[in-house]
Each structure stands twice: as structure tokens, then as C-alpha cells.
């Protein structure tokens, strides 16, 4: 039996970009509380994970920068051997909530088919989906997808209350059935006005150590996209609850 049973440790791999930082810092806060969960992070800034290729059943970085980032964030692994993990979380990687589309919907009626195709077309272009395809070509393990954090609430948000976030999540999940993956909704306690992240979760956000010398640098005040460790803690604890554990 693998780690999806109650009596064994659960090995999770997280693949992502800079947004993984908040998860890593969040994990540092709660790791002692989860003795039976191991998380290994594989992350690189921006879209550099696109340089992962498949070779002999593992994911291999094809650039020195990516190799360095992966080695640094994983604690020493130079490649990603998915067979060592029970669950995979693909986080960030250019998958953003489609604000423009959702705002369009508040003024124009689109059929459900049109809406779903817009989401599908948007999603298909993301590094998140490209990474999912790579993972799926190597593994049947449960895969979860986390989109970039919703934008931090600013002083002049608009139309958020008219937008149904859960409808978006349901729509993406219908699309992800084909790849047997599940979109994680951002935890409700982090949300404000349906589609924004409470500003307290961007406060004190810092960059993760990807081995490029910019570790722990705070994000600019005007950065509304990167969240702090507390956000990561809430996200991970919400994520853990969604992983089905089989009684072994």
C-alpha cells in the first residue's frame, strides 16, 4: 500500500513557480503537526519549469538555472522522480483566475458552452496544464491543481460580488476530468468579495530560495499576487483535507 493508506507516510510533491514560496513557508509552520506527511517542493521562478523534459521515466531540467532551482527547493534532488510520490500538487505556473472573462460576464451573456470553451482555451495555454500533461504521461497518482493566488483585495475592486467563484472552480474541474486532476479552490477563509484574497495574506510575503541569491527578499508593497506563509499554511491544511485516505 502507498501513502494514501492511513498507516503510511504520505509523500507529496509540489511543482510550481514563485507562488510555491508561500506554501513552503506555510509548511515550515505546520510540519511538526503532520508527522505522516512529507512534502518535497520543486520550483523555479516565472515559467522556467517549462524546461522540464521527460527522460527515462523522470522529469529532467534541461537548463542549468532550472536544475539549480529544483535542487535548491527540493533539498538536493536534481531530477523529479514521480514514482517516489503518492500525490502531486501543481501550483501557480501561470494559471490565473480569469478576471477579464468573469468581468465580461457581468455585462454580456455567454452560454455555458462558450464560457467553458473560454476557460478551456485559457487553461490549455498555461504552463500548469503543460506540466500536468507531463506528469500524466508518467504517473497515474492523484494530481491536484492550484491556480495562482487570487489578487489581493485593493481599495477599488469592482464587481467581485457579482462573480461566482465556485462556478469557475466547477467548470475547471469538469475540464480536468479528462486528465484525472482536481482544481483546489482557494480556501474560503482567505477570500474577500468572492474573488480576491484578503490583504493580510500578502503582508510580509517574501521570495523563496531558488538558489539565485534573491531568497527571502520581500515582495514590493504594490505586489498583489504573492502571498505569505500564513496563506500557505491555510492552503496546505485545506489541501490535506481533500486528499482521500484509504484505510489500509
Amino acid at each position: 500500500m502507498n501513502g494514501l493508506t492511513d498507516d503510511k507516510a504520505l509523500n507529496i510533491c509540489v511543482l510550481g513557480n514563485s507562488h510555491v514560496g508561500s506554501l513552503k513557508f506555510g509548511w515550515d509552520l505546520i510540519k511538526p503537526d503532520y508527522a505522516k506527511i512529507n512534502i518535497t517542493f520543486f520550483a523555479a521562478r516565472a515559467d522556467r519549469m517549462r524546461y522540464l523534459s521527460i527522460e527515462k521515466g523522470v522529469l529532467i531540467p534541461t537548463t542549468p538555472y532550472l536544475k539549480k532551482s529544483i535542487t535548491q527547493t527540493s533539498g538536493g534532488f536534481e531530477t523529479i522522480n514521480l514514482s517516489a510520490f503518492d500525490v502531486c500538487l501543481i501550483y501557480g505556473l501561470k494559471f490565473s483566475f480569469p478576471y477579464k472573462l468573469e468581468f465580461d460576464r457581468t455585462s454580456h451573456y455567454f452560454s455555458k458552452a462558450v464560457y467553458e470553451h473560454s476557460i478551456l482555451d485559457t487553461l490549455s495555454d498555461t504552463l500548469s496544464m503543460q506540466t500536468l500533461k507531463k506528469v500524466r504521461s508518467l504517473s497515474d497518482m492523484p494530481v491536484y491543481i492550484g491556480h495562482n493566488p487570487l489578487t489581493a483585495y485593493s481599495k477599488n475592486p469592482f464587481l467581485g460580488k457579482k462573480i461566482n467563484y465556485s462556478e469557475f472552480v466547477s467548470c475547471v474541474n469538469r475540464i480536468l476530468i479528462a486528465d484525472k486532476a482536481t482544481l483546489l479552490a482557494q480556501p474560503e477563509e482567505t477570500l474577500i468579495e468572492n474573488i480576491y484574497t484578503k490583504t493580510e495574506y500578502k503582508s510580509g510575503a517574501i521570495g523563496m530560495d531558488v538558489g539565485d541569491g534573491s531568497a527571502n527578499k520581500p515582495y514590493a508593497d504594490k505586489d498583489n499576487l504573492h502571498m505569505n506563509g500564513e496563506f500557505g499554511r491555510i492552503y496546505l491544511e485545506s489541501f490535506f483535507k481533500q486528499i482521500p485516505r484509504v484505510v489500509g
Binding site: L101, D104, H108, Y109, A113, V114, H117, S118, D121
Partner: protein
């Protein structure tokens, strides 16, 4: 001296046509008004109207789109769902009576028919049967979508500086009981044909003229500055229900449409006629702008039509700014097979459909 002795070169076949290469034939159009880059131009009508919208965009004109595709929808799916084809999602408006019907829905808020077509568990809009390739999830969704198109059509009429309408057909299908018109014969693109309910009408000159006049009058009441450019689609009929040979039916239909467009353009200062029909169909052009099926207009024909459109415009009003031309060059070229033509479906329902 007789009157012909004072006429310009273009008045004589020999000098205007016979002594020229077909690509040197010009001065076919004397535009009544100038199209400027900032003018908002709405395009509707038969399949061929799509070329005009595309050409305007390629040349960096302000093509008016009041029902834009949602953010993220790919170009391929925009075509599948008929976004960015006409200025809003009316689908093809082939006849002048259908134009009048849309105008009345939009401006007079005339009651929409309650009819819907169902296939398995999906619902189709009888007035835009091809707008959602797999139909709608519910009747309510179908109605909301049509209502969006009607609202967007109203906006297009009110916002446009110029409304370009391409006349396509005289043959039409109506609901016998309620009198409303279908864009396609029921049972072709969707729905089921019922001879008790569905009646054919091949509209005569007077019908076409009256309907177009009425539609334009309503549009002008809503937008007093609106100017109209009429064109006639050079694309022959896919099929005819008139009893005539399809070639004769095509010529009869196009002749009526051409005559109506010409008459309105002669009578009203704010209406112009652009001769796309003649450019493709006249003897000097030898039919070379048709695809091998002798029906679809190839990209060279479309380019020639639109080049002449802008050349004649520049000849009369002066050249367009250089930056507009440069932007236009960058945007050129889009394949004609990217057009959406519901009428093509008729071929699939005939015994000898086009191959």
C-alpha cells in the same frame, strides 16, 4: 455634337473594359461619403458580409463589435461560436425581411417568437440555428443568448456611423401561423420541416424594397447620423426552392437585390451602393474569382473587391494616413475558409449536395 461625345472614358465599354486588363479596370465606384479610421462601421448580412468586416479590420478601420467574444476564447472557437463574424451574433441575415425582423426586435422591442427547436436534450434557436454548434443547454439559455444578440444589435445600430449590409437572398421561409421569418428552411441546419407550419416565399422587388426601406427608416430614427452602404453578395444560391434551375434562380434573385440596392442608393443621400456583385460576376472578370465549385469567391476576388473599395475611396477623398496603411499591411491575410456560412448547409441536404 451628341451627348455621348462628351462622356468620359469610363462610360464606354471599349475604353473602360475592352482595352484593359481586368486588374486595371477601375472607377467602378464613386463613393458618396468618406470612411475614416475613427468611423465605427457595423457589418451584417449574408455570408459575404464577413469579408467586409475582415477587410476593415485588416486595414485598421474601426469595425464595430458590440458582442465581442469572451476573453480567452481562441480564434478557432470564436469561429465555432460565431463571434467576431458580424458586428454581433445575429448569424447570417440573408434577406431584407429578416433584417427588418431583427431591427423590429431591437428597436421596437417587438415580441420574440417563443418557438424553439429541440434535438435530444439540446435546444436550438430557430433564428440563429448554427450559433451554438451543439445547441443550448436549456430554452432559457437559448433565449438569454438571443436577447444578448438583440441588445447588441440595437447597440450596433445606435453606435455605428456606417452600417454595411450585404443582401444575399430573395428566397425565404416563414412561419405560416405567426408570420415570422426563419433564416434557414426548418429541417436543414436544425429543427424539423412541417409543410403545415412552414411556408416558402420568393420575395419580389416590391417586397424586398419595402422591407429594406422600412428597416433603414427604423434604424435612421434610432440613429439620425447613420449612413448605409449596401452591397449584393456575388455568391450564387446553394439551392433554390423556386422551381427554377438554380442558375436562373440565382440570376433572378441577384437581379432583384441589385435593383433594390441601386434604387435606394439613387433615392437617398445617406445610402450608397458598392458593386462587389459586379466585380465578381461581370463578363470582364471571366468568373476567375470563383472557386472550382463556381460558387465560393476565392481570396483573390475578395482582395480585389476590397482593394477597389479602398482605392476608390482614396481616389475621391485622398489617401489614408501612412500609419494606417502600415498597420493594415501587418494585419493582412486571413483565409476565406475561416468564414461562417449557414447557407452551405443546404447543400448537405440536397440529393446532390456540393462535394
Amino acid at each position: 455634337m451628341n451627348p455621348y461625345q462628351q462622356l468620359p472614358e469610363q462610360a464606354f465599354w471599349k475604353t473602360a473594359i475592352a482595352s484593359k486588363n481586368m486588374f486595371d479596370i477601375g472607377d467602378l465606384w464613386n463613393p458618396k461619403f468618406q470612411l475614416l479610421q475613427q468611423h465605427k462601421i457595423a457589418t451584417f448580412g449574408s455570408c459575404f458580409a464577413q469579408h467586409i468586416g475582415l477587410a476593415l479590420q485588416k486595414r485598421a478601420f474601426s469595425w464595430l463589435n458590440t458582442e465581442p467574444a469572451p476573453a480567452g476564447l481562441s480564434k478557432t472557437n470564436c469561429k465555432v461560436f460565431s463571434y467576431d463574424v458580424f458586428s454581433c451574433r445575429t448569424g447570417n441575415i440573408y434577406t431584407t425581411s429578416l433584417l427588418k425582423q431583427w431591427v423590429e426586435w431591437a428597436l421596437l422591442e417587438k415580441m420574440q417568437p417563443v418557438e424553439y427547436w429541440q434535438k435530444n436534450d439540446r435546444f436550438y434557436d430557430p433564428f440563429r440555428p448554427n450559433i451554438e454548434p451543439n445547441g443550448f443547454e436549456s430554452i432559457e439559455e437559448m433565449r438569454l443568448s438571443r436577447q444578448q444578440a438583440i441588445s447588441s444589435f440595437k447597440l450596433a445600430i445606435k453606435r455605428a456611423d456606417v452600417f454595411v449590409f450585404t443582401l444575399g437572398l430573395t428566397e425565404s421561409w416563414f412561419n405560416k401561423e405567426y408570420g415570422y421569418e426563419y433564416p434557414m428552411c426548418p429541417g436543414t441546419a436544425a429543427g424539423e420541416f412541417d409543410s403545415e407550419q412552414h411556408v416558402f416565399k420568393n420575395q419580389k422587388f416590391a417586397d424586398v424594397l419595402a422591407n429594406l426601406s422600412a428597416a433603414i427608416s427604423l434604424m435612421r430614427q434610432a440613429n439620425k447620423k447613420l449612413r448605409i452602404i449596401l452591397t449584393v453578395s456575388p455568391v450564387p444560391l446553394t439551392a433554390t426552392n423556386s422551381g427554377s434551375h438554380v442558375l436562373l434562380a440565382t440570376m433572378a434573385s441577384k437581379s432583384v437585390l441589385r435593383a433594390v440596392a441601386g434604387q435606394l442608393a439613387e433615392e437617398r443621400i445617406f445610402i450608397d451602393y458598392f458593386p462587389s456583385y459586379e466585380i465578381i460576376n461581370s463578363p470582364p472578370f471571366k468568373g476567375v474569382f470563383f472557386e472550382p465549385n463556381q460558387r465560393n469567391v476565392n481570396s483573390h476576388g475578395v482582395d480585389l473587391i476590397m482593394d477597389l473599395f479602398f482605392q476608390d475611396m482614396e481616389k475621391k477623398f485622398g489617401e489614408y494616413p501612412i500609419e494606417q496603411s502600415q498597420k493594415a499591411l501587418a494585419l493582412r491575410k486571413k483565409s476565406p475558409d475561416e468564414l461562417v456560412c449557414e447557407e452551405e448547409l443546404l447543400a448537405a441536404f440536397g440529393k446532390k449536395g456540393l462535394k
